[in-house]
């Protein structure tokens, strides 16, 4: 079992995609079975979702991007505790659409939480988070001692 997030929307064009999808589907069934999708309240793990995340490391900073379409920025909380970055929040369903006659319901709602251990220490007082067009971007500058240093080695 790997820790790669399952992505239902990524599609291939050729006939090979059917085989690929079948294998992925079977992997997912096994992963879910062994993960045990039971929530604290005893319900099956349907009320939560996991937003997709990118974390890029640059020389001087980490840049974390989180896909949060339709989430209000007031409903997102970002915390850092000894190098563990946690993004949690809730995506609320628009109240006026709750009772409508649905033909398709593919978008997910509910609580989410993701945590990541950053590989080196960051300057916790200089962290910035910006939410725009459904993407949360968190910039975490590295601590001075974590930045790459160029060391000249004298050749004798």
């Amino acid at each position: 079992m790997s820790l790669i997030r399952w992505n239902p929307t990524r599609e291939l064009t050729s006939w090979a995609s059917d085989l690929w999808n079948m294998q992925r589907e079977i992997n997912r069934v096994f992963d879910n079975f062994f993960r045990g999708g039971v929530q604290d309240d005893g319900s099956l793990g349907l009320s939560y979702w996991m937003p997709a995340v990118d974390i890029a490391e640059h020389d001087n900073e980490f840049v974390v991007k989180v896909e949060l379409p339709g989430v209000s920025k007031d409903d997102v909380k970002v915390t850092l505790e000894s190098n563990i970055l946690t993004i949690r929040g809730e995506k609320k369903q628009d109240r006026e659409t709750k009772n409508e006659n649905y033909h398709r319901l593919e978008r997910t709602y509910g609580s989410f939480q993701r945590s990541f251990t950053l590989p080196s220490s960051v300057r916790s007082d200089k962290i910035e988070a910006v939410y725009k067009d459904g993407i949360l971007t968190i910039t975490l500058p590295k601590a001075e001692e974590a930045k790459p240093k160029l060391i000249d080695v004298k050749v004798k």
């Binding site: 790669i4 997030r5 992505n7 239902p8 929307t9 990524r10 599609e11 291939l12 064009t13 050729s14 995609s17 997709a52 995340v53 990118d54 974390i55 890029a56 490391e57 640059h58 980490f62 840049v63 991007k65 896909e67 949060l68 379409p69 339709g70 989430v71 209000s72 659409t97 409508e100 006659n101 649905y102 033909h103 398709r104 319901l105 593919e106 978008r107 997910t108 990541f116 590989p119 939410y131 067009d133 459904g134 993407i135």
Partner: protein, 131 residues
């Protein structure tokens, strides 16, 4: 569930009749489709899209949404976690009769595109008063 006037076409199902898009150049965004008394509403998650880079087109029987995405990361980044990688969004919806094509409108808020397709007058829900 009502008359299915806004059907969905996942790309791939029409591969033989449509121009095939380049492999893996886009992802199919998830969508909610619902119906009110006055209209059909399509909501699509397009996180990261630029409002100006979204194109919505309606031809005889298809609603097409495309969005090219701006570059997501600076060069020379070392990706520690990489789940989002994508270049553009593309999705088609088959439309039935009874949509007032001149009054279709769209808005883009927090990465969610909402397209409202009003029904023609004769198909709208009406309250009938008892005489």
């Amino acid at each position: 569930m009502g008359n299915n006037n806004v059907a969905l076409t996942r790309r791939g199902t029409n591969a033989l009749t449509r121009k095939v898009e380049p492999v893996n150049s886009y992802v199919t965004p998830v969508a909610d489709v619902y119906e009110t008394g006055e209209a059909y509403v399509v909501k699509l998650d397009l996180p990261g899209a630029d409002q100006d880079a979204i194109t919505i087109s309606v031809d005889q029987n298809t609603l097409t949404v495309r969005a090219a995405l701006p570059t997501f990361h600076r060069e020379h980044a070392w990706m520690i976690v990489h789940e989002i990688g994508r270049k553009s969004y593309f999705r088609e919806f088959r439309l039935g009769e009874g949509i007032d094509r001149d009054k279709i409108r769209a808005e883009f808020v927090n990465g969610v595109l909402t397209v409202t397709l009003p029904k023609v007058e004769s198909l709208r829900a009406k309250e009938i008063r008892i005489q």
